[in-house]
Amino acid sequence: MFLKDYISDVYNGVASLLKGMRKTGYYFTHSKEIITEQYPDNRATLKLADRFKGEVVMPHDDNNEHTCTGCTACELACPNGTIKIITKFDVTPEGKKKKAIDAFIYRLEMCTLCNLCITACPSDAIKMVPNFEHSVFDRSKLTKVLNKPGSKIKEGIE
């Protein structure tokens, strides 16, 4: 009896191992079904999801104009003080004073990419882009000013 149990144990054990090995062998001979991506060699063809939250940017149009009014809603919505908005007063041609942004300071190293600032913005002035290669040699390079130099607010945005 003991010998019979022993032999059947060995038989079952080996059979279960071979069953697993068959799967491994299948993929060894069907290398087309393997899905590993060869980053960074595939950089040219790599396409990230369009909603991927990688970095906050402020889109500018061809006239170097953005839609940010400097309302600081995004600054208040941010949970960790990533955004700092410095405002100034522009003088319009009619001689009136108008609030505008001087600098939109964004600290990528502190950003948790939670998207709360984007949903808080009433004028769609900022958005997320799928950049993910953020490594730099100096930490100070991660503090960015998002409004481009010389840019101004688009006409008609209040």
């Binding site: 079952n12 191992l17 069953k19 697993g20 899905i35 909603r51 991927f52 948790t112 939670c114 709360l116």
Partner: protein
């Protein structure tokens, strides 16, 4: 409790009766993070295990107390990062309950689908990591192949792979991606075909079976008295599925079975998780074709203020019962917030079930508890 010098002393000294104290972790491949176990051994037999926490303590509860009710949700993704959707859902549900916010049907259904996808992704990762702890490297890649499809779906719809922050009080942050339904269906199809591969590779494997069967047995009484929940308790025959006991979102309208095993050993915990994945697929199949049209987020005030009082909401994460408790003074931030994490109670049972077994079995016992350290150590 040991202090730092005692730990160092203990590791170099043999105790009075030949006891050896070894430190497992905080950097150990099988502790998945920074768990530190001080294991007292007699030869190869475990006499005592003391988990030491604190290496990844970020004071999340205190941090949440200065964040507004919209902001604090993203922090909870950083606790149990493998069930971040489910944690976010718990917080959103609590705020909706406290403020009587109406959640659109569409949001409820999408939340349920995403929660189940998260559960599958978490169990997939666990199976891979668990098999790797026991020395099998291949299943890891198979598990990650299917998990990758889920992270792709998450990336398309939520914009992130791990810390989504897609769920807001009142519904969802933005609508689902147009390809959401096709991608989820493709995943369901592939998963059903490929799940047999795990059976071949892991479940039926004689080495895996003999290393997990009868190892780390937890009785139903102990599971209850230690406060275990999730697959750990269900493998011991305790019915504790929050989706059944206190249904939230769309769980009250779907059919699924609560998976219960009675053996209570490591193998039973494995089986519960594999079967739970199939149940999750069942839930997704019932909902994916019936996502109602309409709004994805309900009407909410700009500034959220909870009424004065105490609020509690519990959900079923991939690891067990997760609870959020908020004491509100009526302001815009919580007065006090407390999270009940499933991992903490599940870890507390480790000493009890591993005592007396061999050190080699500790890996199997600990692995099947499915510990995520940032969840235990907030």
């Amino acid at each position: 409790m040991y202090n730092q010098t005692e730990i160092i002393k203990d590791t170099t000294d043999l105790g009075p009766d030949g006891e050896l104290v070894i430190n497992m972790g905080p950097q150990h491949p099988a502790t998945h993070g920074v768990l530190h176990l001080v294991v007292t051994l007699n030869g190869e037999t475990i006499k005592k295990i003391e988990p030491h926490l604190g290496y990844i303590h970020r004071s999340i509860e205190k941090m949440c107390e200065r964040l507004s009710y919209r902001q604090f949700i993203y922090v909870t993704s950083r606790m149990d990062y493998l069930s971040s959707h489910i944690n976010n859902t718990a917080c959103a549900l609590l705020i909706e309950k406290g403020m009587q916010i109406e959640v659109p049907e569409r949001a409820k259904v999408v939340r349920t689908i995403l929660n189940e996808l998260t559960r599958i992704a978490s169990h997939e990762l666990w199976i891979g990591a668990m098999a790797m702890d026991l020395g099998a490297f291949t299943p890891f890649f198979y598990a990650f192949r299917e998990r990758e499809m889920i992270t792709d779906i998450m990336e398309d719809t939520c914009g992130a792979r791990l810390t989504m922050n897609y769920i807001v009080p009142g519904g969802l942050m933005y609508d689902i991606h147009p390809n959401f339904q096709t991608k989820v269906k493709a995943f369901v199809k592939q998963f059903k075909e490929k799940v047999t591969e795990y059976e071949d590779l892991v479940t039926g494997n004689i080495i895996f079976q003999s290393r997990t069967k009868g190892v780390g047995v937890l009785t139903a009484e102990d599971a209850i008295s230690y406060g275990c929940s999730g697959p750990v308790a269900r493998a011991s025959g305790v019915s504790c599925d929050m989706r059944k006991i206190a249904p939230y979102d769309a769980y009250d309208r779907v059919e699924f079975d609560e998976v219960i095993e009675t053996a209570g050993d490591s193998f039973a915990r494995y089986i519960v998780r594999v079967k739970e994945m199939n149940q999750s697929i069942r839930i997704i199949e019932q909902l994916i074709d019936n996502i109602p049209e309409g709004e994805f987020v309900g009407k909410t005030k700009n500034v959220l203020k909870l009424n004065k009082g105490e609020f509690y909401q519990r959900v079923e994460t991939a690891r067990g019962e997760f609870g959020v408790f908020i004491v509100s003074e009526g302001g815009t931030t919580p007065y006090r917030i407390k999270f009940r994490s499933p991992g903490f109670s599940n870890l507390s049972v480790l000493n009890h079930i591993a005592k007396g077994s061999k050190i080699g079995d500790l890996m199997a016992t600990m692995g099947t508890l499915d510990l995520v350290i940032p969840d235990i150590d907030r």
